[in-house]
């Protein structure tokens, strides 16, 4: 670990694949596995491959690092959220016009690929890992924290040349789905413990504020956040 890289098994621990498997593995880098939010149950996955689980977990923990404000992206369940979204009707391209012919089009014309979100993200993870391997000698999930930041920054700036895949567009979609996982209602598998709502001071439900606009004029309204699940 002299060069500070994170072994794959630490990703598994960080992703919450705990229990017998994770506890049986030595944790070589304490920094890579911040305190757990108390979830000791193994994750179950609908569609993500092991490579994809590792990739999204590394992305989530880089975009949303654990600190005083919130647990890490993985601890908040973001890879699970992504798994559920890509397995959903939305992920399968429902309600999307998918007839050809296909052309690259202009940026003003929006998304023009035949790929469903699930297929698009699968291709994107492979392209990102291929680029990461070529650039750093290892897949994204195995990069050191500083290298992960560098790699995502390059993708965001359009400076990462993926083979046959638009890295910048992929980065934006990755950022969007990660933030959706962090901030959406916890019923979708992300935002565990309403971590982001606690962080922001967003009260969630029931959101019936008649009369409160006046009552809390220029005063902060404080309430324990509640999810859809709390009312179901």
């Amino acid at each position: 670990m002299a060069n500070g890289t994170i072994p794959r098994r630490d990703f598994l621990a960080g992703a919450g694949v705990a229990g017998a498997l994770a506890t049986s593995l030595p944790t070589a880098n304490a920094d890579a596995a911040p305190p757990q939010a108390g979830n000791a149950t193994p994750e179950t996955w609908l569609v993500l491959t092991a490579e994809e689980q590792a990739f999204y977990s590394a992305v989530a923990d880089t975009m949303i690092p654990a600190d005083a404000l919130s647990p890490s992206g993985t601890q908040c369940g973001i890879p699970v959220f992504i798994d559920r979204q890509l397995a959903s009707a939305w992920g399968a391209g429902a309600r999307m016009y998918r007839a050809g012919p296909f052309h690259q089009g202009l940026p003003e014309q929006g998304y023009q690929l035949p790929l469903t979100p699930r297929d698009y993200f699968a291709a994107g993870v492979q392209a990102a890992n291929a680029w990461s391997s070529k650039t750093y000698g290892k897949t994204f999930d195995r990069l050191a924290p500083g290298q992960r930041i560098e790699a995502l920054t390059a993708m965001e700036a359009g400076k990462a040349a993926f083979e046959d895949f638009d890295a910048r567009a992929f980065f934006q979609r990755l950022l969007t789905i990660t933030m959706e996982g962090f901030f959406s209602d916890p019923i979708y598998g992300g935002n565990r413990g309403k971590a982001s709502w606690h962080m922001l001071g967003f009260p969630g439900l029931p959101a019936t504020y008649a009369g409160k606009v006046e009552e809390y004029r220029n005063k902060r309204y404080v309430a324990e956040p509640q999810s859809i699940a709390d009312f179901s």
């Binding site: 404000l69 309600r95 003003e108 959406s184 922001l200 969630g204 029931p206 959101a207 504020y209 606009v213």
Partner: protein, 589 residues
């Protein structure tokens, strides 16, 4: 082969705002009416109920209430020489689907156009000279005036239970309302919503600059209300989820909340949902539509529904597409400028701003759009355009209650979009960011139009509608002027930081901007300048009435729904008062 059904008095295509109004008005006149709706029924107690309705991902992210692009979409390009490509998911604009249509998920800004908007070309030429309207700017006067529409504006207010404060009652100007508005016959049905804290700050700053702030007219009941159809509405709960979401309190006005409860009780009305109308059956010689063809998406069966009166009240794109596909009227030919169907497509020109006030607690998720505060000082006829180099205008608003966590977070420009610093800045500013918008006119241009796409097809095999649109130099200049006025107000509010966001040069189909599309079947004085006459009756088929913003000759600097509703009621009145007694052209060309 389509099964031919029994003839009905009237068939309504699309059960959104205009379709709902016509269905109610015609059944009240004793007609038997069938409402055809491509999407599902929307039943508030089932479909809009707490807690599930407060789901930002489902409604605002995954667009639960919007049209299904896999069934039908449009193609888009900026310029006539480009290749148009399909919109694969709605984004810049979000046409709704299901009973209530786009009216289920609107932000409920309820405006009237100003009197001079109705004779726009004449007004501009009289005030600024003949050259004020460029040759390429194909704007035209409406064939109906504000005074004629006013009683219908008033009735639509009373359908919706609009909350607001009048600024002009029968010519008497009232401080605190919109002093620029046309004369109203009376006060709004409900008192305005309380202003957000940001709105109150905006009001004070704009007043100090000599402007005239007032509460946004809001199409929701601020207190329980019974409307003119006898339907009870609840009071707005200020949930902060209005836009893109429906209302569990039946406070926000829509066909679902203000009309369907009455229609569902009326044996003269029959609702058929999940039926996809493919074509109007047109008898060109008789200048009549004999019925409509539709596919029942629940069975796959095709039907022909004959009708005495056909009301085409789908979205702007579907109205235009239906005429082109049915061979009714002359398609607009961009190369010659001839033909009417598809002409004068217009969008709405919005440009936002954000400002940060570290000492103010703004509770950004709380409140309603009606808590927004507006100035109308820079709309069309409300200021002098001499020497400015553009015509048109719009309103400026401090928005309210629209900052849910996925999409409503703002951080100062230059902040990273992820990582530790992003997180701390997000937390630092969430309670202290205030959002503004400018909502401007779009004046028709000969290069902005709709026609039939040569390549792509919908789920029924019909060629798609093709949209060719880009922002014009005039509209960009207008938008920059509005943003500069907004910037002056923001500076007077003394924020720690702020950012105004001018529109990009080219119109782009992502991200979301506005659902205010118009034109394609515009109204006018004769068949040489329009598709429908002043009563929204098609020149080429006297029993076909076309509803909605597709009939607007151009887009004014206000949200369209108030005028859309007033026009539907005006048309319904004429159908009931004249057409039923004497079916035939209501205006002779």
């Amino acid at each position: 082969m389509a099964t031919r059904l029994k003839e009905i008095d009237a068939v309504v295509i699309g059960m959104g705002w205009a379709g709902g109004i016509l269905a109610r008005e015609l059944t009240l006149a004793g007609l038997n009416v069938v409402g055809l709706e491509r999407g599902p029924d929307r039943r508030p107690a089932q479909d809009f109920a707490l807690p599930g309705i407060r789901d930002e991902l489902r409604y605002q992210g995954r667009l639960e209430l919007m049209g299904d692009n896999s069934l039908d979409t449009i193609t888009f390009r900026n310029q006539p020489e480009q290749l148009a490509l399909p919109i694969r998911r709605w984004s810049a604009f979000l046409p709704g689907e299901g009973v209530g249509g786009t009216g289920n998920h609107w932000g409920a800004s309820h405006w009237r156009f100003q009197p001079d908007d109705f004779h726009l070309r004449s007004y501009l030429q009289a005030r600024y000279g003949a050259k004020a309207v460029a040759d390429t700017m194909t704007i035209q006067d409406w064939p109906v005036g504000y005074d004629e529409l006013e009683p219908h504006y008033d009735r639509f207010d009373k359908v919706c239970g609009v909350s607001g404060r009048a600024g002009n009652i029968k010519g008497r100007k009232i401080e605190g309302g919109n002093v620029f508005e046309g004369p109203r016959s009376g006060e709004y049905p409900n008192r305005p919503m309380p202003p957000s804290e940001g709105g109150a700050m905006f009001a004070a700053a704009s007043k100090s600059l000599g402007y005239h702030p007032f509460p946004l007219p809001f199409s929701a009941a601020s207190a329980p209300y019974k409307n003119i159809y006898g339907v009870s509405m609840g009071a707005c709960q200020e949930c902060g989820f209005c836009t893109r979401t429906a209302c569990e309190a039946s406070a926000k006005a829509s066909t679902v909340s203000t009309i369907m409860p009455a229609l569902r009780q009326d044996p003269r009305f029959e609702l058929r949902t999940r039926v996809f109308v493919s074509k109007l059956v047109y008898d060109k010689a008789a200048k009549r539509v004999t019925g409509v063809l539709y596919t029942d998406l629940k069975t796959g069966a095709e039907y022909e529904q004959p009708a005495n009166i056909v009301v085409l009240s789908a979205f702007v794109f579907s109205n235009t597409h239906m005429l082109l596909h049915s061979g009714i009227g002359e398609p607009y030919d961009h190369s010659t400028g001839k033909g009417q169907v598809g002409r004068n497509y217009c969008y709405q020109f919005e440009a936002p701003a954000v400002a940060f006030f570290p000492d103010k607690e703004l509770n950004p998720y709380m409140g309603s759009p009606g808590g927004g505060v507006v100035i109308d000082d820079f709309n069309n006829a409300n200021f002098d355009h001499s020497g400015l180099g553009f015509v048109g205008g719009g309103y400026v608003i401090a928005s309210s209650g629209n900052a849910p966590p996925i999409d409503g977070r703002s951080v100062p420009a230059g902040t990273p979009s992820w990582g530790s610093q992003w997180k701390s800045e997000t937390v630092k500013w969430y309670y202290h960011a205030m959002h503004f918008n400018t909502q401007g006119s779009v004046y028709a241009h000969r290069d902005n139009y709709m026609d039939i796409d040569p390549t792509y097809r919908d789920a029924l095999g019909r060629p798609l509608l093709r949209l060719t649109y880009n922002g014009t130099a005039n509209d960009h200049a207008m938008s920059r002027h509005l943003l500069a006025r907004l910037e002056g107000i923001i500076k007077a509010m003394g924020p720690a930081q702020y950012e105004v966001r001018p529109r990009p040069r080219n119109f782009t189909i992502v991200p979301y901007q506005s659902t205010h599309n118009s034109g394609g079947t515009v109204m006018g004085t004769d068949p040489g300048n329009s598709v429908v006459n002043r009563y929204l009756q098609a020149w080429d088929a006297h029993n076909l009435f076309i509803m909605g913003a597709s009939t607007f000759p151009q887009q004014n600097g206000y949200n369209p729904t108030g005028t859309l509703g007033a026009l539907a009621l005006w048309s319904a009145d004429k159908i009931k008062g004249s057409y039923l007694k004497n079916p035939g052209p209501l205006v002779h060309a």
